[in-house]
C-alpha cells in the first residue's frame, strides 16, 4: 500500500512539472518575440579596403582585456597557417579575427574580419532558455554572464559559429563573444574599439539603414570593384554588421547557404525541445513507466484473484 502511494505521488509530480513546463514554454516563447529596432546601428565592413593590418584585433584585445597573444599583432605569418585548410576562428580569447584569402580572379589577397554579426533576430537570443541575451536598441546583441547556465545551446543555434565557451573558470564557465563594445563604448556614444582603430576605414559605423544606402552607393559607383551583394542585408534575417566584397562571398569564407529568414523560424521547434527534453521528459517517462507497471501489476493481481476464485469454484 505504501509503495503505491509514493508511486502515485511521483506520477502526480511528473504530470505537474509537464504542465508547468508547457506553461513556462509559452512564457519564454512570448518573451522571444524580438523587437525590431528600425534605428539600430551597425558596421559596414568594406573588404576591398581592408589591408589585413590587424589593428582591429589589437584594439579588441586591449579593449576587452583579453590575454596577450602568442605572436605580436603585426606578425603576418599567422595568415599563412590557415592557407591549406582551416581558418582562424573567434574563440574565448579572440572576439574578432582577420583571415586572408587569395581568390584566383584578383591579383591581391582579400581579408575577412570575423566577429559577432549582431543579428537583427539573433538565433542565440531566441534559443537561450534562461534569457541571458538581449538585443539592445543600439543594435548590439549582449548577454548576461550571471544568468548563463553554460548549456551552450546558443553555440549550436548561431549560424556563424560565434559564441565561444570559456572553460578557464571551472566554477563558473560562461559563454563569451563580441559585445559590440556595448558596455564600455556604444552605450557612451563612442565608436567600437575595432572601428576606431581601422586605418583604412574599412569599418564604417552608423545606422544600419544608412549603411545599406552607402553600400549600394559604393556598388553603383564602382561596379568593377564590388560584387552586387551586401552580405548581411538579408542573411539570417538581416545582421547589423554588413559586408562588401570584390569577389563572390563564398570565395572568401562566407556561408552563402544561410537562409534569409531568421534562423529561429527554421529551428525553433527543435530548440524549444531542448529544455523540454532536459526537464520534462525524465519525470514524464518515469510516470508512464510507473503507470504501465501499475497496470500490469493490477492485471496480474486480477488474474491471480480470478484463478484463486476459479480454484475455489472447482
Amino acid at each position: 500500500m505504501k509503495t503505491q502511494t509514493s508511486r502515485r505521488t511521483l506520477l502526480k509530480k511528473g504530470l505537474g512539472s509537464a504542465a508547468a513546463a508547457i506553461f513556462l514554454r509559452a512564457k519564454t516563447a512570448r518573451s522571444h518575440n524580438i523587437k525590431r529596432y528600425p534605428n539600430s546601428c551597425g558596421v559596414l565592413v568594406d573588404m576591398t579596403r581592408c589591408i589585413g593590418c590587424r589593428s582591429c584585433e589589437a584594439a579588441c584585445n586591449a579593449e576587452q582585456k583579453l590575454p596577450s597573444p602568442a605572436l605580436p599583432f603585426d606578425d603576418r605569418s599567422l595568415f599563412a597557417q590557415g592557407r591549406h585548410g582551416s581558418k582562424r576562428r573567434t574563440d574565448e580569447n579572440h572576439f574578432t579575427v582577420i583571415n586572408r584569402y587569395d581568390p584566383p580572379e584578383i591579383d591581391h589577397p582579400l581579408f575577412r574580419k570575423i566577429q559577432c554579426n549582431h543579428c537583427q533576430e539573433p538565433a542565440c537570443l531566441s534559443s537561450c532558455f534562461v534569457n541571458a541575451y538581449t538585443k539592445t536598441p543600439e543594435g548590439a546583441v549582449i548577454y548576461n554572464p550571471d544568468v548563463c547556465v553554460g548549456c551552450r545551446t546558443c553555440m549550436i543555434a548561431c549560424p556563424f559559429y560565434i559564441p565561444a565557451f570559456r572553460y578557464s573558470s571551472a566554477l563558473h564557465p560562461q559563454i563569451v563573444k563580441c559585445q559590440f563594445c556595448y558596455e564600455t563604448r556604444l552605450k557612451n556614444n563612442l565608436l567600437p574599439a575595432c572601428v576606431e582603430a581601422c586605418p583604412q576605414e574599412a569599418l564604417l559605423f552608423g545606422k544600419r539603414e544608412k549603411l545599406i544606402k552607402i553600400a549600394r552607393h559604393r556598388i553603383r559607383n564602382d561596379r568593377d570593384r564590388y560584387v552586387d551583394h551586401i552580405y548581411g542585408e538579408y542573411e539570417a534575417g538581416g545582421t547589423s554588421w554588413l559586408y562588401l566584397s570584390s569577389v563572390e562571398f563564398d570565395q572568401v569564407g562566407f556561408d552563402t547557404t544561410i537562409p534569409h529568414e531568421p534562423i529561429l523560424n527554421s529551428v525553433k521547434n527543435f530548440l524549444a525541445m531542448v529544455p523540454m527534453v532536459l526537464t520534462i521528459w525524465p519525470p514524464l517517462f518515469a510516470g508512464f513507466h510507473l503507470l504501465a507497471a501499475r497496470r500490469a501489476r493490477a492485471e496480474k493481481t486480477r488474474q491471480e484473484n480470478n484463478r484463486e476464485k476459479a480454484d475455489e469454484d472447482v
Binding site: 586591449a62 597573444p69 603585426d74 563612442l190 586605418p199
Partner: protein, 160 residues
C-alpha cells in the same frame, strides 16, 4: 562612464593634421610645401614626415587633391558639377575629411553625391596606400610610421 570617456579623450585630441595652404605663385618648387608633418594617430605611432615635394614632382596635384591649385580637376564624377569650379581656398585634407568618421554625421548629401565622405584617417590611408600598393611603394605600417611605446604595447611587439 567617466572611466571610458578618459581613455578616448587623448586619442581624439591627437587626431591632428596640418596641411599648409599653398600659395599660387612663382616657381613650382617654391610653391609646394616641401614636407608635411602628419601627426594623426600619435597615440600608437610617431608623426610621419611626408615628403610632399618629392610626390608633387612625380604626380599631378589632382592625383591626390580634389580641388586644388595647379592642374584642373580630373575626376570624372567631380567634373559633372565642378567643371568650372574655381580652386578652393583651403587644400588641407582636414578641412573636409573629419577626424571621426561614421555614417551618423557628415555633410548634407547633394542628391547622389557627397554621401560617403571618408574621415581623415581613412582619406590619408586610402589615398597613400592605394597608390603605394599599385606602384610597389612601401606598404607595411612601420615602413611609414614608427611605434610609440603605447603602440608597441598595443601590438604586443617586443622591444628591440
Amino acid at each position: 562612464m567617466v572611466r571610458v570617456k578618459i581613455d578616448l579623450f587623448p586619442l581624439l585630441s591627437l587626431f591632428f593634421i596640418i596641411f599648409p595652404v599653398m600659395p599660387t605663385t612663382a616657381a613650382f618648387a617654391a610653391a609646394v610645401a616641401s614636407t608635411v608633418t602628419i601627426d594623426a594617430l600619435q597615440e600608437l605611432y610617431t608623426p610621419v614626415d611626408f615628403d610632399h615635394l618629392a610626390h608633387a614632382e612625380m604626380y599631378n596635384c589632382t592625383s591626390c587633391h580634389h580641388h586644388t591649385t595647379g592642374t584642373t580637376m580630373q575626376d570624372e564624377k567631380c567634373l559633372k558639377c565642378h567643371k568650372n569650379s574655381p580652386a578652393t581656398a583651403n587644400v588641407s585634407c582636414s578641412s573636409c575629411h573629419h577626424r571621426r568618421s561614421t555614417a551618423l554625421d557628415g555633410a548634407e548629401p547633394h542628391g547622389n553625391y557627397h554621401i560617403d565622405i571618408v574621415g581623415l584617417k581613412g582619406a590619408l590611408h586610402l589615398n597613400c596606400l592605394g597608390c603605394h600598393r599599385e606602384t610597389g611603394a612601401p606598404c607595411g605600417c612601420i615602413e611609414c610610421h614608427d611605434y610609440t611605446e603605447a603602440g608597441r604595447k598595443r601590438f604586443a611587439v617586443q622591444e628591440n
